[in-house]
Assembly symmetry: C2
Homo-oligomer: 280 residues x 2
């Protein structure tokens, strides 16, 4: 199969590496505005060829949009304009309502599969790409009824070769769930980093002390705004709902401490511990 | 050296395993109220002998208090009552003002070294203990001027054999810094877990979806109240200061989203990204 990766970054690069390793992809076209990323992708054997968007679209059987969600929403209708019945287009974005709405009435809508592999790190760019990223994780396909059967089969074949199990849901459900399990985590990490940077002036000491708990909680705060501002913008309503609830939950801890109500504090913690039974 | 581990849990057990591996400890007395923990510790080769507190104190050259910080604060004066000039007593707690104040005027204060190895996990008990926990991490000694020179040398020798580098500071500074880099992370994780448990009823879906970001952010929410309520109680003022600042920082994200001020949102994220330069 010949594939095109539009946006040769962490996710696009990791997909290409893995599909190549599985021997189901024999030529990878890379398209990116960032020449350094293209060069790194060539050097690392992620892509065979850096080319133009038009050229990639003309030749690839499978096209991945692996760019920020605002850019993907804008670009997808143009890509579908040129899509033939032999081509499948997939995105990998962390929000799905915006992009599926943008092409809902497009004559070639059926060639598109709304796809979200549930993996990422705080790093970005093809230098951070790795073939073993996706194994064992979930991938979501949204609004499957709007895609052609053969396009869904292609997506399923891809997910299988990435080592992922598929979950099907509506774009609305997807955006609600990702607000809980991904988007809010990023906001709390950013806010925690800003808390420390604001209040703690003895940087040397604190970061010598920083233990594993801190690193894992704040790790996501390294994630770039180019990717995350568009996600928060597209999923604003859900993210605000969850953020309001999160602030309410934090206020309960504050109240328990202020009132020195340690029975209540323990109750809050015991409730949180239930996550142990659910999250391995 | 003969040592006593009072509280054969994750930290006490890990210390014993590592010091044994380094061949600087030849007999380990284990004291615990939990008979299952003692049995596990014997089965895993963490301790040689389960015994009474009195017996352990009578025979060990080095005594570790590895119990929750409220219990340690209560027990330390009794342990020091019996301490000879050949014995050293160390604790491993995550707060230091309470325990150092409790023994400030004790006639044997000099035999005690206030010690905090900066490592932990969300798991507890001797089953979770591991020899390679501490390597490369910081350990703090507080109020060193109140300890005898030879007791500090023993603590330094222990830290070295645990693979840790020592940092010296006052108990006040320690409790302020740990509020930032450890205690607040636990509160945000607990609150995040409660947010998800409160709002999200489709548990099956969400936890199938949960990606690495969520797991790492919520991991600490599995930590037990037996350990953490006493820490929050002892460090209440610092934790409240940091928690208030954290809620303020979260409100900035909320405001940016509500007002659709995405330039401000980007600014908040770019500021948080500075953590990248400080935290590897």
């Amino acid at each position: 199969m010949k594939i095109a990766i539009i946006g040769v970054g962490l996710i696009g690069g990791s997909i290409a590496l893995k599909l190549r390793q599985e021997n189901i992809v024999h030529h990878v076209f890379g398209v990116d505005q960032n020449q350094n990323h293209l060069q790194t992708a060539i050097d690392r054997g992620i892509i065979d060829e850096a080319t133009t968007l038009d050229n990639a679209l003309a030749q690839a059987e499978l096209i991945f949009l692996a760019i920020p969600v605002d850019a993907a929403r804008k670009l997808l209708p143009q890509v579908l304009d040129h899509a033939t019945k032999q081509q499948t287009v997939m995105d990998v974005g962390s929000t799905k309502c915006g992009i599926t709405a943008a092409v809902k009435n497009h004559p070639n809508r059926q060639r598109y599969v709304a796809f979200h592999p549930m993996w990422g790190t705080e790093n970005s760019g093809p230098g951070a790409a790795t073939a073993e990223s996706f194994s064992g994780r979930a991938a979501v396909i949204c609004n499957a009824e709007e895609s052609a059967k053969d396009a869904l089969e292609t997506a399923s074949h891809i997910a299988e070769n990435l080592g992922m199990h598929l979950i099907y849901m509506s774009a609305e459900d997807h955006d609600l769930h990702t607000a809980y399990i991904s988007h809010i985590s990023h906001i709390t990490s950013y806010a925690l980093a800003n808390t420390v940077l604001e209040k703690e002036r003895e940087e040397d000491t604190i970061f010598q002390l920083a233990s594993t708990g801190f690193s894992s909680t704040v790790r996501l705060a390294k994630s770039h705004p180019e990717m995350w501002v568009p996600i928060f913008r597209q999923n604003k309503e859900n993210v605000l709902d969850v953020l309001n609830e999160h602030i309410t939950q934090l206020r309960k801890f504050k109240s328990a401490l202020e009132k020195e109500n340690y029975d209540y504090l323990e109750e809050l913690i015991r409730n949180a511990n239930k996550i142990r039974g659910i999250l391995k």
